[in-house]
Amino acid sequence: MAEKMNQTQNFLKGIIKENPVFVMLLGMCPTLGVTSSAFNGLGMGLATLFVLLMSNIVISLVKSQIPDKVRIPAFIIVIASFVTIVEMVLEAFIPFLYEQLGIFIPLIVVNCLILGRAEAFASKNDLLSSIIDALGMGFGFVIALTVLGAVREILGNASLFEWRFVSENANTFILFVLPPGAFIALAYLAVLFNKIAIKTS
């Protein structure tokens, strides 16, 4: 039972206490770059979740084989392989999303979140904990990106997941789908998140 509690905490820490975006500020480039709509945020989040999960699994399995001195390059190769898989799958099956995310798909390789979890968690813990850690952190990232994307899409485009709730030519805060809106929306979401996190803990 104690073991199970531990894993629940392991999962939840990624979503609230150590949320990669709002608390740890990891992976900021895709967070700001692709969240001009909720759909893009969700797509990027899921792609990152997949790479994070697979690389955590592989690194946790082979951790004893990797010499300590070359561990970072070894981690990067594992991560880059899965990023290449994601790149090819998206190009083949979801070309629309592939075009929207553009340069940020190959850049999943340098997302500090993934390398950070590989170094700080998967290389030190067993398979099950690593999987749960990856799922927690990954979903924390998905949630953050989707929420940021949704806020920006609602304010900037008056729509959510491409579904418009006002007429075509209504005035909206276009600023929020432009680059400055990303910084401003994230700043206020971080304030809000801090407030919620302080209250719950």
């Binding site: 290449t84 790149e87 190959p106 500090c112 700043a187």
Partner: protein, 191 residues
């Protein structure tokens, strides 16, 4: 003329940090002092130019002829990681004063997405050539330096300002970055 346009586009209109969101980690991380941000900018200029030069040649003469284009991401990140290591070792030996200035920033650059991002973007330039790709890298690193140094100067002033409790730290920095990005938005349509 073409090169002037590339330069203005990279530094002002499509500023790599403020409108393309590449290299946000060092932008938020090492921008609390103007002196450190100048050091970081120097290291980025150095590595980004070398990395783009190497990856462009590698792409043209190895990956494309052998049909290995799908290995682009893996090879590029490995080349950049190796290059950063190499630059660090050479600088330490050849120019200790320069190493003193740039040394601490070099390891951080491997995971700086601006370097990999520019290397990939340089492949997609119109009627690209090696010189154009390298020039593109230099222009982008100047854009990075401009954004970083301006942001660091504002942050130094912010230390003295009276900021509401909830906004302290990350949120106020993001807001400042947002306003700076808004200012750069004014350059839209220049080229």
């Amino acid at each position: 003329m073409e090169y002037v346009l590339i330069f203005i586009a990279a530094v002002f209109v499509n500023n790599i940090v403020l409108s393309q969101f590449l290299g946000i980690c060092p932008f938020l991380g090492v921008s609390n002092k103007v002196t450190t941000s100048i050091g970081m900018s120097g290291a980025v200029l150095f590595v980004m130019t070398l990395a783009t030069l190497t990856t462009y040649l590698l792409h043209q003469f190895v990956l494309v002829p052998f049909g290995l284009d799908y290995l682009r991401t893996i090879t590029f990140i490995l080349v950049i990681a190796a290059l950063v290591q190499m630059v660090e070792i050479i600088l330490k030996k050849v120019s200790p004063p320069l190493y003193q200035v740039l040394g601490v920033f070099l390891p951080l650059i491997t995971t700086n997405c601006a370097v990999l991002g520019v290397a990939i973007l340089a492949l997609g330039l119109e009627s690209g050539s090696l010189i154009k790709a390298v020039f593109f890298a230099i222009a982008n690193s100047i854009g990075f330096a401009l954004a970083l140094i301006v942001f660091a100067s504002i942050r130094e002033q912010l230390e003295l300002a009276d900021i509401p409790k909830g906004m302290k730290g990350v949120p106020i920095n993001l807001l400042v970055a947002g306003l700076l990005s808004l200012a750069f938005l004014g350059f839209t349509g220049l080229v």
